[in-house]
């Protein structure tokens, strides 16, 4: 089964390209401490705003910090924002989706009203509200993005659970008295995994993009910690005199979010059971 999916991804050139981008990104994030030529927060005022060259591959910023090293470390931060935020969203969304779909009735309608309320909030407005009123920090960014992006997934999972619940193997499991937790984890979860994987992949890209938007508004990851969004926002103010400060983070965000989207779409195709006929 997995082999078939893998083949489908490999045959989908765009998805493969997405996978390559994400792999490179992950490697950059994992290896940043070995690869980075400079300390990402190490300042050198005398070497500020130097263009790309042999000493600094991607130039230096307004405090003389090496942009290439900051980009590498930034990948770590941007990626962890994406992954943790999505992790939170998946956790909540899946739990609510499964509980809602499995129990139905009052619990279902109560949870779905909650979903409606969260969905009715313009997401970015909510994120803005929370972050503006709390201390802006990488953790708050992760948590808030996570807390606001689960309802879509909850609906997907719920729909999936609704169709599975009536299948024989679940009914049989119930008859022989399998515990609910076991039913959740053994029967329901594996069968809802593909929409979760797809929306998680797309979600990581979204979260990275949201962080850059928050950084633009001054509410993202705070310095000196380098996130791409924050580097881009800094670069924006220097766009007239130091183009490299915005170009590289901008392209990195573009490529990464694009990569996650292409892979996500590819996964959607590959995991779509309808294509099996």
């Amino acid at each position: 089964m997995l082999k078939i999916y893998w083949q489908r991804i490999r045959h989908n050139k765009l998805a493969a390209a997405g996978l390559v981008i994400i792999t490179v990104l992950t490697l950059a994030a994992l290896l940043s401490s070995f690869v980075a030529p400079y300390d990402p927060v190490g300042q050198n005022i005398s070497a500020r705003l130097q263009g790309p060259g042999a000493a600094h591959y991607l130039g230096t910023d307004d405090l003389g910090r090496d942009v290439f090293s900051r980009m590498l470390y930034g990948s770590r931060i941007s990626l962890s924002i994406g992954i943790i935020a999505v992790g939170i969203a998946v956790l909540i969304g899946t739990a609510i989706g499964i509980i809602s779909g499995y129990f139905g009735g009052k619990i279902d309608s109560l949870l779905m009203r909650l979903v409606d309320i969260v969905l009715c909030f313009p997401t970015f407005f909510l994120i803005l509200l929370v972050i503006a009123f709390l201390e802006p920090s990488i953790y708050n960014v992760m948590i808030v993005i996570g807390l606001t992006s689960w309802p879509g997934l909850a609906r997907l999972v719920r729909a999936q659970v609704l169709t599975i619940r009536t299948r024989e193997f679940v009914q049989a499991a119930e008859l022989i008295g399998t515990s609910r937790l076991k039913i959740f984890f053994i029967h329901l979860l594996p069968n809802t995994i593909s929409p979760i994987i797809v929306s998680a992949t797309l979600g990581v890209g979204d979260a990275i993009l949201t962080e850059s938007g928050l950084s633009f508004l001054g509410l993202g990851v705070q310095p000196p910690m380098p996130s791409w969004g924050q580097m881009l926002t800094l670069g924006k103010d220097y766009i007239h005199m130091a183009w490299w400060l915005s170009l590289f983070p901008g392209l990195a965000i573009l490529a990464t979010v694009l990569g996650f989207n292409l892979l996500g779409e590819g996964l959607r195709d590959a995991l779509d059971p309808r294509i099996n006929d």
Partner: protein, 535 residues
């Protein structure tokens, strides 16, 4: 944070500059001509076009053009006549009598009288009016208007900064009477006495003023003043490069950017009336020892901070008054930058460098947190540089950047911090009682570092009581030296203002009061005029 003065661009000041930058746009000998627009911009929209209610910079700069105070600062920061022709101070220093200018008309044609001054004063102290400026007038015992053109203010005690407080814009009684002051429509369609008349306000887009043909100091040469709202700084700069705005205050990096950007602009450069500091929590046992603070003072390289943050466009600070103020004490010599000295002092206190490169004592690292507010890049950059300078000495400084409101309430007001980086924008009068007096340490008050020196307390009291400038000068210079020696703050730097103005504007002169003090005398030669007033 922002001290709004009812004077145009009042925050700007002038000192000598050595790099060929113009002090003034060449005074043009030709006869000034009328016409053209002046386009400027701001990050935020104005709130109230009413000097009593407005607290933001945007409203402040517009109100300065529409309203006049009784007095104002001249270009050399001497208090001079505005709506008041002249004034005298009683011998005991308790009463000030203003003689108002006659024949001044409000923009709607009504005559300006002492009733308007009385009305303005009553609003300032009215508990129902949403003004934060009431405390300046709390010391007033009574305000009398013996006739249409005389105002006599009597104080409960002598209060030297009183005159400055009468720079507050005077609002028209006849416009506001009978309506709720806080929500009057006149707060969006102001009627003043100033050189410019309100024309239109397109929310979040622009505010347009037109010249006041009947201005008592003569009709301004420029026909229209347009205030555009451009919320993003890089876009604002883009508009400047596109020459679609005529004036902008630059960041040091913008100032240093390619020359051809500015071929059409005159650049001005002078110290602003403000300073940035790192303040210590003196209640914190860590910092209550002055030797520790002195060590830190030696550890910081202010010039590197100024070069890094301001590209050298600023001066190292030694005390709470900027160098262009008469209160500044030039004899105060700054701490020598010497990491060795810093380490020596700390070693003598028992700190030892360990393998990790940091100083340790009793199993603890020398570690503290520097806080500053979110949204101020200069301050967070300063924090980052300080962090790395302290690291070189073996001190581990963490940085925390916190949203303004939480910063004030959870940390500043509760004395819940190690060190903060903040700045003070200063009034021209050196009275800083609220900042340094040892009693001003309650929640919401400004001596949040907990500075206490009985002698400084006494000097601060005296400074407020004496009108004589020579005596005041002595008092404040002493305060400067004492505060410097006590190191409640490390005074980091005095930043500079870096405005550029389009070259076609003549008679632009940077003086101690900045460049905008004579805005109504700016003019554009007829053949260089860019915009035409169509009617």
């Amino acid at each position: 944070m922002k001290r709004i003065l009812p004077a145009v661009f009042a925050l700007l000041f002038f000192t000598s500059c050595g790099d060929g930058i113009k002090k003034t746009a060449a005074p043009d000998s030709a006869e000034p001509s009328y016409g053209d627009y002046f386009v400027t911009s701001s990050i935020g929209d104005a709130s109230y076009l009413n000097p009593i209610l407005a607290t933001d910079n945007a409203s402040g700069s517009i109100n300065g053009l529409i309203f006049n105070g009784l007095v104002k600062y001249d270009k050399n920061l001497k208090i001079t006549a505005d709506l008041a022709d002249s004034w005298e101070i009683s011998d005991n220093g308790l009463a000030v009598t203003f003689h108002l200018r006659k024949n001044v008309l409000w923009h709607d044609g009504a005559p300006f009288t002492s009733d308007d001054v009385k009305f303005t004063y009553e609003r300032l102290i009215d508990p129902e009016v949403k003004t934060p400026f009431g405390s300046d007038y709390a010391l007033i015992k009574k305000l009398e208007t013996p006739d249409k053109h005389t105002v006599k203010v009597t104080y409960k005690e002598t209060f030297a900064p009183a005159l400055e407080s009468w720079m507050m814009g005077i609002v028209p009684r006849h416009i506001f009477q009978g309506s709720d002051f806080n929500s009057s429509p006149a707060n969006r369609r102001p009627v003043g006495t100033g050189p410019f008349v309100f024309k239109e306000w397109k929310t979040d887009e622009k505010i347009v003023l037109e010249s006041n043909k009947n201005y008592f100091e003569g009709r301004p040469y420029i026909d229209r003043y347009i205030f555009r709202i451009i919320p993003d700084q890089s876009v604002e700069f883009l508009e400047l490069r596109n020459r679609s705005i005529d004036e902008m205050s630059l960041t040091p990096d913008q100032w240093n950017a390619y020359k051809e950007f500015f071929s059409a602009y005159n650049k001005f450069r002078y110290p602003a009336f403000q300073y940035v500091y790192m303040g210590f929590n003196l209640y914190n046992p860590f910092f209550s020892d002055i030797r520790v603070r002195r060590a830190l003072a030696h550890a910081l390289n202010k010039n590197e901070i100024i070069n890094g943050v301001l590209l050298g466009m600023g001066k190292p600070a030694t005390g709470p008054f900027p160098p262009q103020s008469w209160a500044y004490n030039s004899e105060v010599k700054d701490f020598e930058y010497s990491p060795e000295k810093a380490r020596e002092i700390l070693f003598s206190l028992g700190w030892r460098t360990e393998k990790d490169g940091y100083l340790h004592k009793d199993g603890k690292v020398f570690e503290f947190t520097i806080m500053t507010n979110q949204g101020n890049k200069i301050r967070s950059l300063s924090a980052e540089i300080i962090q790395s300078q302290l690291k070189a000495v073996g001190i581990k400084a963490n940085i925390r950047i916190i949203e303004w409101s939480s910063f004030i309430h959870q940390f500043i007001d509760k004395h819940n911090f190690d060190a903060v980086i903040l700045g003070w924008n200063l009034s021209r009068d050196p009275d800083q009682f609220a900042i340094w007096n040892s009693a001003q340490t309650k929640e919401g008050q400004y001596n949040f570092v907990g500075y206490s020196n009985p002698e400084v307390d006494r000097l601060l009291e005296n400074g407020r009581r004496v009108f004589d400038l020579k005596k005041r000068e002595r008092i404040y210079r002493e305060i400067h030296a004492k505060i410097f020696n006590d190191i409640p703050y490390i005074f980091l730097y005095y930043p500079e203002a870096l405005p550029v103005v389009h070259k076609r504007f003549k008679n632009v002169e940077a003086a101690p009061a900045g460049i905008g003090w004579n805005f109504h005398k700016w003019w554009v030669p007829a053949n260089e005029q860019k915009y035409m007033l169509t009617r």
